[in-house]
C-alpha cells in the first residue's frame, strides 16, 4: 500500500498545479465577461462601475483589433491584481485619445496573446469609458527591457502603446517586453458605423 502513496501524492500535486495554472486562465476569461458588463454599464451611466463588489479597479477602456476579432477590457492601473483580470492602463500615462502616450499592458498568455498577431498597419480601436472612440494604427514594434522602454510620457503626439512580455512562447518571465506602438488616426463619439 505504501508504494501507492508516493505516486498518489505526486499525482495530487500535479493535479493541483495544473489546476492552478488553469485557474489563472479561467479567472482571466471570467473576469473579462464581468468586465464587459461593467464597462457597458459605465458607458451608459458615465460613472466608473466596479465589475464586482470587492474589486479595487474598474474598466476604463475597450481595445479591439477587428482584423483578429480580438477584444479586451482595460482596467485602471497595472497592479498585479488588476493584470490578472485584464489589461491595465499604466497610471503614469495619459488616457487614450489625449495628447501623450497611453500605455496598456497585459499578460502575454492571456489578454494580450493576440498581440503577436497584430501586424504593422492594423487598426486598433479604443473605446473609452465615457463612450468616446479612438482609432489607432499600429506603426512600429520593438523589444525592450522593462526598465528602458524608451516610452516618453511627455511625448507631444497622440500615441498608444500596448506592452506585454517577450518572448511570447517563453515559459518563465524575463526582463524583456514587447512594445507595440500606434498613432491616432481617427476619433468619434460613437463606434465607427462601418467596420472595414
Amino acid at each position: 500500500m505504501s508504494r501507492l502513496i508516493s505516486p498518489l501524492v505526486l499525482a495530487l500535486i500535479g493535479l493541483f498545479l495544473f489546476g492552478d495554472g488553469a485557474y489563472i486562465h479561467a479567472k482571466a476569461w471570467l473576469a473579462q465577461l464581468l468586465l464587459e458588463r461593467a464597462f457597458d454599464r459605465s458607458i451608459a451611466t458615465g460613472q466608473p462601475v466596479k465589475p464586482w463588489a470587492w474589486a479595487d479597479t474598474w474598466p476604463v477602456a475597450r481595445i479591439e483589433v477587428t482584423r483578429l476579432g480580438a477584444s479586451a477590457i482595460v482596467l485602471d492601473g497595472a497592479s498585479g491584481q488588476a493584470l490578472a483580470f485584464g489589461p491595465g492602463h499604466l497610471h503614469q500615462t495619459v488616457d487614450a485619445g489625449e495628447r501623450g502616450i497611453a500605455v496598456y499592458a497585459a499578460h502575454r498568455d492571456t489578454h494580450f496573446r493576440f498581440l503577436r498577431n497584430v501586424a504593422i498597419g492594423d487598426e486598433i480601436d479604443v473605446t473609452r469609458a465615457d463612450g468616446k472612440h479612438f482609432r489607432y494604427r499600429a506603426d512600429s514594434s520593438a523589444v525592450v527591457r522593462f526598465d528602458a522602454s524608451g516610452i516618453d510620457p511627455a511625448s507631444q503626439g497622440f500615441e498608444l502603446v500596448l506592452a506585454t512580455c517577450w518572448p511570447f512562447d517563453a515559459v518563465t518571465s524575463g526582463p524583456e517586453r514587447y512594445v507595440l506602438h500606434a498613432t491616432l488616426i481617427g476619433t468619434g463619439e460613437q463606434r465607427f458605423a462601418i467596420e472595414p
Binding site: 500535486i13 492552478d20 522593462f146 511627455a154 515559459v171 512594445v179
Partner: protein
Amino acid sequence: MSNDDAVDSNQHPWLGRLIVVGVFLLAQGVAMLLVAFIALLVSFEPGWSATIEQASLLQPGEAKSGSLLLKDDGATTEAIRLGTDVDITVSSPTLRARVTQVFRNPTKDWVEATYVYPLASNGAVDTLKMVVGDRVIVGDIKERHQARIIYEQARRDGQKAALTEQERPNIFTNSVANIGPGETVLVQIEYQEPVHQSGNEYSLRVPLVVAPRYNPAPIVQSVEFRNDGSGWGAANSNPVPDRDRIAPPVRDPAKNAPVNPTSITVRLKAGFALGEVKSQHHTIKTESPESTTRIVTLADGAVPADRDFELTWKPAAEKAPSVGLFREHVGDADYLLAFVTPPSAEQATQKPLPREVVFVIDNSGSMGGTSIVQAKASLLYALGRLQPNDRFNVIRFDDTMDVLFPASVPADPAHLGEALGFVNGLQARGGTEMVPAMRAALTDKLGDTNMVRQVVFLTDGAIGNEQQLFETITAMRGRSRVFMVGIGSAPNTYLMTRAAELGRGAFTHIGAVEQVEERMRGLFAKLENPAVTGLSAKFSEAKADITPAIIPDVYRDEPLVLAAKLDKLAGSLEIKGRVGDRPWSVTLPLQNAAEGKGLSKLWARRKIGDAEVARTLREMTPEESDKVILALALDHQIVTRLTSLVAVDKTPSRPEGEPLKLSELPINLPAGWDFAKVFGERPQQAPAQLRERHADARSQPAARRPTPAAPDAIRLPKTATSAELKMIAGLVLIVLALILFVFNRRQTLLTDAA
C-alpha cells in the same frame, strides 16, 4: 459574487449559467490556491504571483537606498546656510549691482565655505567686502595665484578671509574661511555692467544659478614631452581641466526644499520717461516715485535661486532714443560710452537675399522638462518663417548627432513636413557634445555664394568646454553667421554672447514658452534684414583707444555700443557704415555727453573680452593676451581669469588646534530642469551618491516635479503569468505519477508472481 450579480442573472439566463460555472471555477480556484502554496515548494518558479515583484517596483518610497545618503547630505548641506541679496542701481546706460551673500554657520564646528555662483558675463567685478560683526574688510585685487596664497595663509592662521575667483566670465566662486560656530559672515561683491538694448526695449539679466554643465570626457589626448629631451612625456588633454571647480553639488528638487533664498531690489533710473517695466520670470512689485524712476522688488520677498531674473523696460515715448553718449573722468583719462541705433526703416523695401539656414537643436538631458518644449516651439516657429526660395537643414544633437538631410534642401512643403516630424519626435536625453554639431552646421556643402548662410543654434549652453566650441566657430565659420538662441531658466549667457560674437551673428534668450514668438520674431527680423556693415568710428581731435577695435556688423534694432578711452574730451565722434548698399554716417559732438558711472570699468572689461577673443582667433599669442589682460585687470581692479579679489581679517579668530571643516554649498537645479535626465545619464561624471539619488527620484510621485513627470522611460509591468509553467509542471508530475504507479504495479505483480 454579490447580490448584484444574482439580480442580473435573473435577467439574463445565459449569464446566470456562466456565473454558476464561474462560481464553480472560483471555488475550485480557492481550493487550488491553498494547495498551490504547497505546490510552490515543488515548483521551481520563484514567485507564483509574478506581479508582486512588479508592484514593488511601482510603489514610491520602497527604495530605501537613499536614506543613508540623505543623512550624509544633511551633514554637509545643513552645515552652512546661505542667503543672497541683490541690489541693483540702473543709471541710464549702466548698472551697478551689489550682491551680498550671507554665510551662516549653525553648527558647532569651524567651517570653510565655498559657493559657486553666476554673474552677468559682461559685468566687471571690482569690489569685495567682508563683514564680520561690525568690522568691514575691503578686498584687494591680486594675481590669481598670489590671492590664493594669501587666502590659504590666512585660512591656516585662523584668520577670517574671503576670496572671489573667476571660473568663467559668468561663473565665480566665493570662498570664506574660518566661520566660527554660530557666526554669520557677510560677503559682498559689486559689479558694473552695461544695460542691454534691443530695439525699443532695454533689459538687465541677473543669473542666479549655475546650471549643471556637461563636461565631455577627454577622448583625444595630446602628449606633453618633458623639457629634458629624454623623450618621455605625459598625455594630457582634458577639454574641461577645471571641471571640479564649476560643478558644485546640486540638490534634487524632488527630494529637497529649495535652498539659497534670494531677494532682489532694482532702482531703475532710466533717464527717460518710462513705459512698461516687466519681469519675465518673477512676480514683482513696482513703485514709481517719478516718471523716469522705478523701484522694483520681488513680490514674494525672497525666492529660491533657481532661475535668471530678467527685467525689461520700455520708454513711454513711441521710440527709444537712437543715440546715447556718456562720459566719465578717471585718473588722467576720459572714458566714453556711445550707443547708436542705425536706421532700419528703409530696409523693408529691399528684397532679402535667399538664405541657407541650418538649424541646430540641443536635445541633451539638460534640456529635459520645459526647455525642450521651448526649443521645439522655437524651431517650429523658425521653420514656419522660411521662404520658398530658402534652403534649410536640421541637426539635432546630444552625445550623438543626426543631420536630417545630407545637404540643405529647398524649403518646400514636403521637406518642411519631414522636418516638422523630425522635430516633433525629439526627446531630451544624453550628454551635450556640442562641438561636433557646430562643426556639422558650419560645414558649407552648397558653397552657393548667392545665398546668405546662417546657423541658428538652440541650446541652454550647459557645457564646460566653451573654449573648444569657440575655437570650432573661429576655425570653421567661413562665410556662415551664427545666431544663438539661449533656452531655459538659466542659460549660459557667456557661451551665447561669445559664440554669436565670434560667429558674427546675434543672440536671443527664451526663458518661457510664452516668449517664443516674440523673441523669435525679433531674431528673425535680424536674420532677414541685412545688417549695417563696414562700420568704422573716428574721433576728430582726441586720441582714442576704442573697443571693439574692429566694429562688428550691427543687426536690425541692435545698437552699436562703443567704449573708448580718450586723452581729452574734445571734438566729435564720427561713425560711418553702410545700410544695405547706401552709405550712412552720424556725428556726435563730445561736449554733449552726459555724466556716467563706472564707464572706465566697462571699457576695461570690453578690452579684456577683446583680448580673450583675439587669443581664440589666434591673433594674439596666449602670453600676449595674458599680459594685456593682467595689466588691465590690475589697473582697473577687475576680477578676471588671471586676477582675484581677496580680503583678510587681520585679527585671528579660530583658536589654534580647532579643526576646520570644508563645506561646499549646494545649489538648486535650475527651474524646469529634470534632475534624472541630467544626473541619471552622466555616470562617468556624476558622483555615486547623485546616481543613487537619481534612482530614488524615479520612484517619486510625478506630481512633485515642476514638469509633467518625465522619467526617461516608463517602467513596464511584469506581464507573464505562471499559468503555462504551472500547467506544464502539473502535467509532468501527473505523468510521473502515472509512470511510478505503473512501475510499482508491475513490481507488485512480479513479486506476487514470484
